[in-house]
């Protein structure tokens, strides 16, 4: 029998930590994307299935700007700053894209049946991925990390600078978002709008503006995840589909509509996928089944998600 099948019984503590770090990197990325799904669901009670494609478009724009900027023999810190600039550019583009899509494709359908905006979102996602294939080509591209990506070694663990950057950026943004939503005036208005839009508007909240802000933030976070993901994998017109779907699962696992839940669900899913392939010996080709298996389990056992509350819908 294949030796990896029994790797479960040979595992040592260093290997566990190694997988944990790998899982945390992937999980942070899922979590950032999941936040967009969950925030939009919180306010509009619908899943923005174009979220993954917004991520893809923003990542392309980041890549294009980055490739333009780095021509000429730039080195070191300059490259890193240009990388951050390119990332911010992609975030801005996708924030704008998210807001425009909401106004064009979802806003006119707010009073329609709940299925209508969902179908519209699927339509938007098809338009975006096909436009990307048409304009950017179907060939996948590399987003090369500008600095040395040689792994650090300590206590037998190997961590690449990209992994460190990913973990740092993901956690920094998650904490930032948590602070924004919990403590700021606009964050409070977001929570109020997600509980009751009419009453929020009675308080003087322009709910449309809050919805736009929600789409902008969700899309910008997704592109950050997209760029970090692209550093490890590739940029392609279909990159948003599977990552988006996984992040959606993460949001459902954590409890859709719940911001802490999306973070938890994302990280949990990343770790489960990593351990599933590395420790349980699930073949890499079947890696995606882990996420969907988890989805089926959570829907059977706790359909509201781990942190979800069972709030009865008003009729």
């Amino acid at each position: 029998m294949d030796s990896t099948t029994f790797s479960l019984f040979q595992i040592d503590i260093v290997t566990i930590f190694q997988h944990l770090i790998n899982g945390l990197t992937l999980g942070g990325i899922y979590a950032l994307i999941a936040l967009g799904y969950t925030m939009v669901y919180g306010i509009l009670k619908f899943i923005n299935f174009a979220h993954g494609e917004i991520l893809m478009v923003g990542t392309y724009f980041s890549l294009f700007l980055f490739n333009t900027l780095i021509t000429g023999g730039k080195t070191g810190a300059v490259l890193f700053i240009l990388f951050i600039l390119a990332l911010l550019f992609g975030m801005a583009i996708s924030a704008l894209l998210g807001v425009v899509i909401e106004i064009i494709a979802y806003k006119p359908l707010r009073k329609a049946s709940r299925l209508a905006p969902l179908l519209s979102a699927i339509g938007v996602s098809i338009i975006l991925s096909n436009s990307a294939a048409y304009f950017f080509g179907t060939r996948s591209r590399k987003f090369t990390y500008p600095l040395d990506n040689k792994p650090f070694n300590f206590f037998g663990l190997s961590i690449t600078p990209v992994q460190l950057l990913t973990i740092f950026v993901c956690f920094f943004l998650m904490l930032g978002l948590k602070y924004f939503v919990d403590k700021t005036r606009i964050g409070r208005a977001m929570r109020a709008s997600s509980e009751n839009q009419n009453v929020a508007s009675l308080m003087g909240v322009n709910v449309n503006k809050i919805i736009s802000i929600t789409f902008a933030i969700g899309s910008a976070l997704a592109v950050t995840a997209g760029v970090l993901y692209a550093l490890e994998y590739k940029v392609s017109p279909t990159m948003g589909t599977m990552t988006g779907l996984k992040a959606f699962i993460a949001a459902v696992v954590g409890g859709v509509g719940n911001i802490s839940g999306a973070m938890l669900g994302g990280i949990l899913l990343g770790i489960l996928e990593t351990f599933g392939t590395a420790v349980l010996g699930i073949p890499v080709g079947y890696k995606d089944t882990i996420a969907f298996g988890v989805l089926i389990l959570i829907l059977l056992l706790k359909p509201d998600g781990i942190l979800g509350k069972n709030i009865k819908e008003k009729v």
Binding site: E195, L202, M203, G204
Partner: protein
């Protein structure tokens, strides 16, 4: 004449059902006005129309001689704009943000107030008015009792220092003693801040006792309007609404 609110011939329609049929009424500055009527008479629709939550199909609503809601969609103001002009609605069923704390709910009431000093001053006033809210300020408002939620909803509306306070069924589902306390507070708000108050209430006796003027609504039409003191003595009102 100092009309703060002028409702002219308004109609509100839900599909084929007419909720309001050519309703006209004026409210004068500083008054406490009550609108009584049976369940489903259209009282809540009227308040929703005034606060901008419900579009009207005919007529206009003017606040301080400015149109805030109209049959013409171009002249309709959004609820958040109407709120910023000084009209606050305490909605039916209180509408507290149950996942947010009591303090956060009150802060939401002052969403458009940018001056932190004014917010703190208002908070102290609300806490003085409803001491229980201070004790519960860090509690999720969903965990409050019905009476406490009503106090919170009123306190939240007052955070913006409104000129007009609209109250939709403030006594609904509450114990008589608590309702009495709430109406006392409503009168003191009118006394202290000179806030114009418009109460919609099924409990006709209580509403008329605590207001200067009253209107009686039946199936979307205003059938009587008089001083509240006269309405209480009106045999028609007595028979239909006061159970005498």
């Amino acid at each position: 004449m100092n009309n703060i609110l002028e409702i002219k011939n308004i109609h509100v329609q839900y599909g084929n059902i007419k909720a309001l049929n050519s309703v006209s009424l004026t409210v004068q500055k500083g008054d406490i006005v009550s609108l009584i009527g049976a369940n489903g008479a259209g009282k809540s629709s009227l308040l929703k129309a005034v606060s901008g939550l419900e579009p009207i199909t005919q007529g206009t609503i003017e606040y301080n001689n400015q149109i805030i809601n109209s049959y013409q969609s171009s002249k309709r103001l959004r609820p958040d704009i109407i709120s910023s002009m000084g009209i606050a609605l305490v909605p039916e069923g209180r509408g507290v943000f149950s996942q947010m704390t009591v303090l956060e709910n009150l802060e939401m009431g002052a969403f458009l107030v940018r001056d932190k000093a004014i917010i703190s001053k208002k908070l102290l006033e609300i806490y003085a008015m409803f001491p229980i809210l201070k004790d519960r300020k860090d509690q999720k408002s969903g965990s409050l009792s019905g009476g406490e939620q009503q106090m919170l909803a009123i306190g939240r509306a007052l955070m913006s220092s409104p000129e007009v306070l609209l109250l939709d069924e403030p006594g609904l589902g509450l114990a008589p003693l608590i309702i009495k306390g709430i109406f006392e507070v409503i009168r003191s708000i009118n006394d202290e801040y000179k806030t114009t108050i418009f109460i919609v209430e099924q409990n006709a006796k209580l509403a008329l006792k605590n207001s200067n003027k009253g209107f009686v609504m039946e199936t979307g039409v205003i059938v009587l309007s008089d001083l509240s003191a006269n309405l209480i003595e009106n045999p028609q009102v007595k028979a239909a609404y006061l159970g005498e």
